[in-house]
Symmetry: C2
Subunit: 193 residues, 2 copies
DNA sequence: ATACTTATCAACATGAATGTCAATAAGAGG
DNA sequence: CCTCTTATTGACATTCATGTTGATAAGTAT
C-alpha cells in the first residue's frame, strides 16, 4: 500500500501542533481528551513522539496550562492597557475564565493532584491577579474588597465552567436568564465599590 | 498463620460501611480515594465484594453522591424550618456546599463524565434548590434574582471547594481575609434584595 | 555523497483499575 | 443436624494509559 512516510517537524512545530490539538480536544471532549494516546492520534503522530517532546503526560498538560494562562494573561493585560473601564474588568476576567475550558482545566488540575504545589504557571497567574486587583476601583478602606471580588469572580467562573449548564437546569433558569448571569454579576460587582 | 475468617454482614451494613469509608476517603484523599480497590481495602474487604453490592464503580460513586445530597437536603430543609432568617440561608447553603467535599464530588462527577445525564440525585437536588429559592426574600420584580443568586452561590461554593486555597494564595489573601469570604458574600447578597 | 543528529515510530513492558467467575463459608430456617 | 441462600473471596481476564527501547529515516552540515 502506502510507503510509510514520516513527517519530520522542528521541535517547536511539533510542540505547538501537539498543544494546539490538546487544546482543541480539551474544548471538545473535556478533560478525557487530554491523554497522550488520544492527543497523539488526533495530531497524527505516535504517542511516543509526544513523550519524546514533553517527557511525560503531566508535563504535556502543564505545558498546555502554561500556554493557556499565558494567553489569558496577555489578553487581560492588553484589556487593561486599552480603554476598558475598570468596572468592566471583572466581567472580562469572568468570561475569559469560563470560556475555552480554562476553568475546567484549572479545576481538573486542582482536583487531580490535590497536592497543590503542582499548580504550574504560578508566577504567571499570580501576576495576572495582581494586575486585575490593581485595576479595580478601590475606596481606601475597602482595600481587601478588591481581592474578595476577584476571589468571587474566579470561583464563580470556575464553578460555572464546570457545572454551569447542569446547575442552571436544576435551578430552573431559562436559557436567557442563564445567559444574563455574567452581566448580572458584573452589574452587582460594580455596585460593590 | 491466621485462619481466614470472614465477616458476614447484612447487605445494608455492608453498603453503609462502604459508603462511610468512601466518604472518609473522599474527604482525606480527594477524589483519587474513590476507586473500588482503595475503598475496599480501607473498609477491610475485597473489591469484589464492593462490586457485588453496588454493581460497578460508578454506581458506588453515584450512591455516595445520592447519600451526600440527601444529607445536604435534609440539613437545608431543617434549617429552613427553623428560625434561620431568610438572609442567612444562602450563607448556609454556601458553607454546606463547600464543606465535606460536596462541591468537589459534584465537580468531579461533572468533569468526569461530562455527558451530563449521569448526574444522579437530580430530583433531590432540584427539590433542594426549589426550597431555597422560595425562601429567599424576593421583591416582586426581581423574581429571577433569587435564582441568579442561587446560581452565584452554588458556582462560587463549588469553585471554592475545588480551588479555594490555591486561589487565595494566588490572589494574595491572608488566612483571615479568606475566612471572611463567606460572610462577606452573604452580606452583599443581603443587599441585593 | 557521506556522515551525523534527532524526530519518528512500532513493539514491548509495566502497572493500575475494573469486572467476572467459581469456590467457600457464615448464618438463617427447616 | 441438614439445607439453602448469599455474602465473601482469591484468581483470572481485560482493558487502558503510560513509559521504554531499538531501529528507521528525514534533514542538515561537512
Amino acid at each position: 500500500m502506502n510507503v510509510n512516510k514520516r513527517v519530520r517537524r522542528t521541535p517547536a512545530e511539533s510542540k505547538s501542533l501537539i498543544l494546539e490539538t490538546a487544546a482543541k480536544r480539551l474544548a471538545e471532549l473535556g478533560l478525557h481528551g487530554l491523554n497522550i494516546s488520544g492527543v497523539a492520534k488526533a495530531a497524527g503522530m505516535s504517542h511516543a513522539t509526544v513523550i519524546h517532546h514533553f517527557g511525560s503526560t503531566s508535563a504535556m498538560r502543564e505545558a498546555l496550562l502554561q500556554q493557556m494562562t499565558n494567553a489569558l494573561l496577555s489578553d487581560v493585560i492588553s484589556a487593561l492597557r486599552e480603554d476598558v473601564s475598570p468596572d468592566q474588568i471583572l466581567g472580562r476576567l469572568f468570561s475569559m475564565l469560563s470560556q475555552d475550558g480554562h476553568g475546567r482545566l484549572l479545576a481538573w488540575l486542582a482536583l487531580d493532584h490535590q497536592d497543590i504545589d503542582v499548580l504550574p504557571a504560578k508566577s504567571n497567574t499570580s501576576e495576572l491577579f495582581k494586575s486585575i486587583i490593581q485595576a479595580i476601583p478601590n475606596s481606601s478602606d475597602t482595600q481587601g474588597d478588591a481581592k474578595l471580588q476577584v476571589l468571587l469572580v474566579a470561583t464563580a467562573a470556575m464553578g460555572l465552567s464546570i457545572c454551569g449548564g447542569a446547575l442552571s437546569d436544576l435551578i430552573g433558569l431559562s436559557d436567557e436568564e442563564f445567559a444574563e448571569f455574567p452581566k448580572w454579576l458584573a452589574r452587582h460587582l460594580r455596585s460593590f465599590a
